[in-house]
């Protein structure tokens, strides 16, 4: 699915990722955890192709293609989806219009005809249920005036509509109460399949109670310093990140 080798990336000349390796196979769910400032969100942004982030070294192969060379939109069209930590508001552009444009752009890239409007609407109705999204929100402007929970649910709804092969959830749990968290996680779980993989970036373990990962990685100082089964998340929850930090520092010495 995606293979990341020795990835170095910097923002405004400051190196954030310092040789990161990660291999995700189809159907797998990988959780990336780590203390604040360890580079978790940077990883999500770099994979999605945000311009402010410069890849200085390393390679990323996504479904056999060199991801780094692709534009942000082509990465999306290839099936990479980023659920934003802070979803963007676009005033005046309805959610529906936005999604339809996105779907048709992706279809065009794949050499398909535009989606049939009726089929599209049926799809909207079906997928809304997945995250218990109010039908009215679909007609509102993209994320404008949405509550924090609605924004996150809207991200998962969009993911359901665009059917990516790799979903990257960037701190999707931040700012969610327990009910919203459950809804969002259920939505994601329904989208799990043998062909679809997820990278779940989170600071807290609680999201992983709902979205159970196959692997947990600890990101610290721009590198993955520890990898383990799902139980690692519990251990982190209990002991915090300090022991990881000192281990990593000792290893570096």
């Amino acid at each position: 699915m995606i293979s990341i080798k020795n990835l170095h990336a910097s923002v405004e000349g400051k190196e954030i990722l310092k040789g990161l390796n990660l291999e995700v196979k189809p159907g797998e769910v990988h959780a990336i955890m780590g203390p604040n400032g360890s580079g978790k969100s940077t990883l999500a942004s770099v994979l999605a192709g945000r311009e402010d982030y410069e890849v200085t070294e390393g390679e990323v192969t996504f479904n056999g293609k060199n991801l780094i060379e692709l534009s942000a939109e082509d990465r999306a069209r290839e099936g990479l989806f980023l659920a934003f930590q802070y979803p963007i508001e676009i005033p005046g552009v309805s959610n529906i219009n936005f999604l339809k444009t996105a779907i048709n752009e992706i279809r065009e890239y794949k050499g398909l005809d535009p989606i049939d409007p009726k089929q599209f609407l049926a799809l909207v109705k079906e997928k809304q249920k997945l995250v218990e999204l109010d039908g009215k929100l679909a007609n509102r402007s993209v994320n404008e005036g949405f509550s924090g929970g609605e924004k996150k649910r809207n991200e998962i709804f969009q993911m359901a509509m665009l059917e990516p092969t790799l979903g990257i959830l960037d701190e999707t749990d931040s700012g969610l109460d327990i009910d919203a968290l459950r809804i969002v996680a259920n939505g994601v779980n329904k989208l799990r399949s043998p062909e679809r993989s997820f990278i779940v970036v989170t600071h807290y373990q609680r999201l992983l109670d709902y979205i159970v990962p196959d692997y947990v990685h600890v990101l610290y100082n721009g590198r993955i310093v520890k990898t383990g089964p799902k139980e690692l998340a519990l251990e982190l929850e209990e002991k915090g990140y300090d022991w990881i930090k000192s281990d990593a520092q000792n290893a570096a010495v």
Binding site: G49, A72, F84, V93, T101, A102, Y109
Partner: protein
């Protein structure tokens, strides 16, 4: 940064698609302006004496006026008024009764512009019918659906025809909203106007279709000086559309029109325009000088006038569609999208003059500046003494694309009555890089993303346009702004 500039560059080079010239046999007046030319125009049009007198009075007044240059936020070389031909007309009969008599080149011209002069072609269904008055250079060439409208007592014809056929209405209303003394260009227009549209909706009649005038400058070395007069009598309603284009030429051509609207008691006029005059090339060569006076009066109580404009063209635009709210409970609205690119300059806005009681006005202005252009909103809201409970709300937003353009807001607010409530808000923003990235991440490329975001930004205004026009306006916005992001 380099990427952005490339995209900007691409946008700047996007072509004006109405820049063709039609080869029509045309008759001109000699260049220059004096009383003889005014008489020549009047004679050409076989006008009655009172019309000539009006023109001459306007001309003599114009001679005493100074060209206004200092107050608008515009910069352009002086216009040489003696180097313009004030009359140009296709040589074939200016008014025609059937399609067979129209110069085939002309029919082609309008078809290229997406305007069909053949009624049959437009009879797709009663709902979407639009009656068209086509004005090329100085004269109206064809008005469609006249008979259908006549059955309801609606008059929709060229201005010249109205001077002959309905002198009482013309004499009553012409100059009643925009007197020839109003301003320099209104005076000039009153002296040399060549043609335009007249429409009158009688008492209690709702006009069953959109009325539309399509203006086209074709000849070089000419100016276009048309006049439009729309009267909605008591309880009448009309939705009126105006479109305009001009060929791509290296010279600057002057367009100085006058539009007058009168809404009597309970009358309503909705005036929509998509203005797409040739804006000049990317170095600012050529393009139309668009110096237009548009004003309506809500003369009677409960009347309403609504201006909606999408401005994408012209080298220079100087235009403030206004409403005099004289009748009690009358309503004035102004919805505007003004796009400037390359070297274009626009100084546009509105005036809402509250005189009657309980009058309301709304101003929504969306400016978009790109390239090296300058885009100014200039508006006046005046609550006169005695205009009890007047209300105004204004929202003026500017969107900047790139770091070489300018966006300016000059709202004048004058309140002379304590019961008035006036609110004005303005913001300036650019298209956020995060918004574009968000779209990209969903598979939408940057070009399309900008189109989406700009259309979203203008939505409140575009929603005001009749369906056919809204589609055209959206396309126009997309064409003129694709890829221009900073």
């Amino acid at each position: 940064m380099a990427d952005k500039n490339e995209i900007l560059e691409e946008h700047i080079s996007s072509e004006y698609k109405y820049g063709f010239v039609t080869d029509i046999d045309t008759e001109f007046a000699p260049k220059g302006l004096n009383e003889d030319i005014v008489r020549f125009i009047s004679k050409k049009k076989n006008e009655p004496e009172w019309m000539l007198e009006y023109r001459l009075k306007a001309f003599r007044h114009w001679l005493t006026m100074e060209e206004p240059k200092h107050w608008a936020h515009l910069d352009y070389p002086a216009v040489n008024f003696q180097d313009i031909s004030y009359y140009a007309a296709p040589k074939k009969k200016p008014t025609v009764n059937s399609m067979d008599e129209v110069d085939p080149e002309l029919v082609k011209t309008f078809e290229k512009l997406g305007i069909s002069l053949e009624e049959q072609k437009r009879l797709v269904g009663m709902e979407s019918k639009i009656a068209v008055d086509a004005v090329i250079d100085s004269v109206s060439v064809k008005t469609t659906f006249k008979e259908v409208l006549a059955e309801k007592g609606i008059i929709f014809c060229s201005f010249s025809e109205a001077v002959h056929e309905h002198p009482e209405l013309i004499r009553q209303y012409m100059g009643s909203v925009v007197p020839y003394t109003d301003n320099y260009y209104a005076a000039l227009n009153s002296a040399v106007f060549s043609d335009g549209s007249f429409c009158y909706i009688p008492k209690g009649v709702r006009c069953p279709m959109e009325l539309s005038t399509y203006f086209r400058i074709n000849s070089s070395g000419t100016g276009q000086f048309e006049r439009t007069l729309i009267v909605a009598d008591e309880g009448a309603y009309v939705s009126y559309l105006e479109g305009c284009t001009a060929p791509q030429r290296d010279e600057n051509q002057l367009h100085a029109a006058v539009v007058e609207i009168v809404a009597q008691k309970d009358g309503e006029v909705k005036y929509s325009t998509v203005q797409n005059w040739y804006p000049g090339d990317k170095n600012g060569k050529g393009g139309i000088y668009n110096f237009v006076t548009k004003r309506g009066i809500c003369a009677g109580s409960n009347s309403k006038i609504s201006w909606t404009q999408v401005e994408t063209g012209s080298a220079i635009t100087w235009k403030y569609p206004s409403v005099i709210l004289k009748g009690d409970n009358s309503i004035g609205e102004f919805y505007s999208v003004a796009v400037t690119n390359n070297m274009q300059q626009a100084d546009t806005g509105t005036k809402m003059l509250h005189i009657g009681r309980n009058t309301k006005s709304t101003i929504i202005s969306k400016g978009i500046s790109a390239g090296k252009s300058n885009n100014s909103y200039r508006g006046l809201v005046r609550i006169s003494k005695g205009a009890k409970n007047a209300r105004n709300f204004s929202q003026c937003d500017s969107l900047l694309m790139g770091d070489k353009c300018g966006a300016h807001t000059f709202p004048y607010i004058e309140i002379h009555d304590k019961s008035g409530v006036v609110e004005h808000e303005a913001t300036t923003s650019k298209i956020g890089e995060d918004q574009i990235f968000y779209c990209n991440q969903r598979g939408i490329d940057t070009e399309k993303a900008i189109g989406l975001i700009v259309n979203g930004y203008c939505k409140e205004v575009l929603n005001q346009l009749p369906m056919e026009f809204a589609v055209e306006a959206q396309k126009l916005l997309a064409v003129s702004l694709e890829g221009s992001v900073g």
